[in-house]
Amino acid sequence: MTLLEFEDLRVTYTGSRGRIPAVRGVDLAVDAGEILGIAGESGCGKSTLAMAVLRLLPRSAEVTGRILLDGEDLLTMGWGRLRAVRWTGASIVFQGAMHSLNAVHRVGRQVAEPILVHGEASPAKAAARAEELLERVGLPPSRARSYPHELSGGQRQRVMIAMALACDPDLIIADEATTALDVMVQAQVLELLTGLVAERGVGMVMISHDLSVLSAVCGTAAVMYAGRIVERGPAHEVFAQARHPYSAALGAAFPVIGDPASRGRPGGLAGDPPDPARLPEGCSFRPRCAVAVERCGSESPELVAVQGAERSSACFVAQEGGPVVL
Amino acid sequence: MTAVPTSPRALRRARTRQSLARSWAAYRSQRAGMVGLVLLSAIVVLAVAAPLLVDQSQLSVTQATGGRMEPPSAEFPLGTDEVGRSILALTLWGSRLSLIIGLTATLAAILVGTAVGVTAGHVGGWYGWVALRVSDWFMVLPSLVVAIALLAVLGRSMGTTILVIALVSWSGTTRLVRAQTLTVQARPYLERARALGAGHWHQMTRHVLPNVLPLVLASATLLVPSAILMESSLAWLGLGDPNVVSWGSILNRASDNGAVSAHAWWYLLPPGLAILLVVLAFMMCGRALEAVFNPRLRGEGA
């Protein structure tokens, strides 16, 4: 069953430079027990998407469309209901645990805080539960009395995960949860997250710029560029056989361990992501695209099914069956 | 870039003019700053024009024409003091002294503070450490206590008042300037200047000072009100120059002659409100300048 659904989600910031569209019409769905990966460069709108779920965006952001969590629209619900849904319905593992944790509170208190806020237990029980949760993510319970700066980066990220589990949410959003960690710790944290999904049947949205990580843990992957989904499909297929030139470039940016051929492939992508305030006409990827055709300069491609119902791509070349990599 | 042949000097002047225009535009957008500026200009005009508006003879105790503490009347719009002088005349003339002392003391404090701060930041080492400790020490001491103690032994005059106020106010500027100097010095263009063999004097006057001055200007504007308040407190305590009229000394006479128990509100309000307005005007300007020159905000803009 569908747990989280975005319907034509649009987020526009209004600032000194005028209106800046950060997310431009996203339709996505996540089922319980499923991991959805969202990949893209920084600034493509993927973190905005994550923050939009719990309505954590600044006041200057205008959000339209629908975000359905268990069938309930988060964008229209009242503040009281929204506060109740925050962390119990969906929780977030934020990127940059050092700054996302409060430096002057002990981590045990921070893990227990949502339990107390939502009135789920007495302070003593909440503290005990916090220790349990820390143990659960592989930290000694005595760590509850540490301050964030006394922990290593991996330990802090585990604290963030323990905190996200505190109120047994149905959905967990992991926003670049492993990006800042070294490879060994990253593998441990990923294992922890996938284990949680398998054993508790929660839904998860995993946001990363690293398509190879997503392909290893996610069922479905969506690739975002300039505020839009440009490709969607089973994660390993999107990674191994991209149907959009941007996904192909993103996948090639990270070498595949144990695949010597991938080292020889030209990785990376020339140029910078477009300025969201001044998007090019037509397909927004066209200025960086190696396979662009004439039509790409005037028309903006929609996300349509290619190769059966499971895969879709927003690329005219792919839609006509052409190769997206030269 | 050099389509029009211009000398480096003209180029620099043009750039200075440009940045001044930018700062002025940023300042103008702050309403409180503009209100403060208008208020301040009005007060300065009144202070400068005081001799034209009111003859100095009106300040003389012996030539006073009014009665003792008369309430406001047509002849004396703000009433009279205990010897029959016009409060309006006293307040107008008092503005001159309060402003002169406030500005001179601040100027002295800023000059000393900037000199010590720039050299402490630039030279560093043993000298820098001692300079920082000494300014820290001055910053911690209760300024009024130091000022009173010094005035009590030095004697009361305008000169000593200015000296004492400058002495208790220079340390904040030193700290600020030293920190800013260290920041400027870490910038790559100064490293390049050093590599090209620029001397200490050249580095300080051409690179460090121009970058430090805007901040100094903002902090000076905020230092003037505290100097004026300090002067008025000292004068009210009876430590001012006995031969001149300042707002603080008017209120000192009011206290000594029982203006409060005589319910002579006209004796108390004008000089006090004058202090309040001047201080407020300087604070509004200073805060606006700070917002314009704040390195943090400027960093965001660049």
């Binding site: 409060n102 930290l139 922990l151 | 409060v260």
Partner: protein, 365 residues
Amino acid sequence: MTDGTPPSEPDRASGPAGDAADRGAPGAPAAPAAGARTRVSGGFGRYLLKHVAGAAVSLLLVLFSSFFIFRLIAGDPIDQLTRERPVSPEQRAAMRAELGLDQPMWKQFWDYITGTLTMDLGDSFQYRRPIFDLIVERLPATLLLSGTGMVLAVLLGFWIGARAGWRQGSRFDRGQVATGLLLYSAPTFWLGMIVILVFARYLGLFPVNGMRSPSTPPDFWSQAVDIGHHLVLPVLTYTAVVYAGYLMIMRSSVLDELGGDYLTTARAKGLRDDEVRRRHAVPNALLPTVTLVFLALGSVVNGSIVTETVFSWPGLGSLFVQSIFYPDRPVLQALFVLFSASTILAVLCAEILYWFIDPRIRRTG
């Protein structure tokens, strides 16, 4: 140095210490649990020693400068003591000997230092009594007035400042900043005079000056109520002038925290807006303000000198001002040292307190 473990230090008995690189101690080997404990308390010992030594040097400088101001710049105290009455050279010599002025300068300085450190401050010229007794007698009045005023000013300033910063640019913010600035711009003594004129003279609600009325019965409660009654106007004046400083400090500190990611975390957890402010933003914003509050003790002293004088409050501040005009130089000198020393010690307290309340400082020491 191991016994200096602060009580709030987290228990490190179990669990591995975080890796050294992550805790901002580059080059330091990853210490075992017990080693980490020693290292941290050793850090406190060093931290304490450094700041105590700094304060001691500052205090010595105060003693030195007070000797310099009052013995060297100021003229011969005998002239002031005799107040230009004709005295015979013999009487003069006797007085000089009594005050120790016939000694060489270094001996005078040594006697002064040892005297001050042993609380032997000499006698007051105007009261003909030991200055130490005078200070002990008047200290409670000063502590009562400036203590009450400062606590009120800090609470009020922080309370308003935190709310104003949290809603930067709102009508509340602009209104409070304007009010605070207006009161801050008023000279303390003038505001005191106006307050007396309005509340004591016109409305007759409170006594004009002093700390107690002679007619009050001597029992504790009557006395307490009487002192409280006398305390209202001075505290009102003092608080009104000073609170704006604390307001601005807290406001800008909260502004610095506004973009913090941890506030987003707190919001995501479902906390109400005011809970996010109180539980997360304010505790973080408080840290940098602690030092400033203690640093502001200098202004507390300034304010209490003026306030005590306006209200004839029988404390140390009014004694100081009174002594200027007598002139009672030993009292001026003693109070100069006392006031300066108290601000230096306040800063030392701030530095020590900072260690305990900011867990982050402990790693850099």
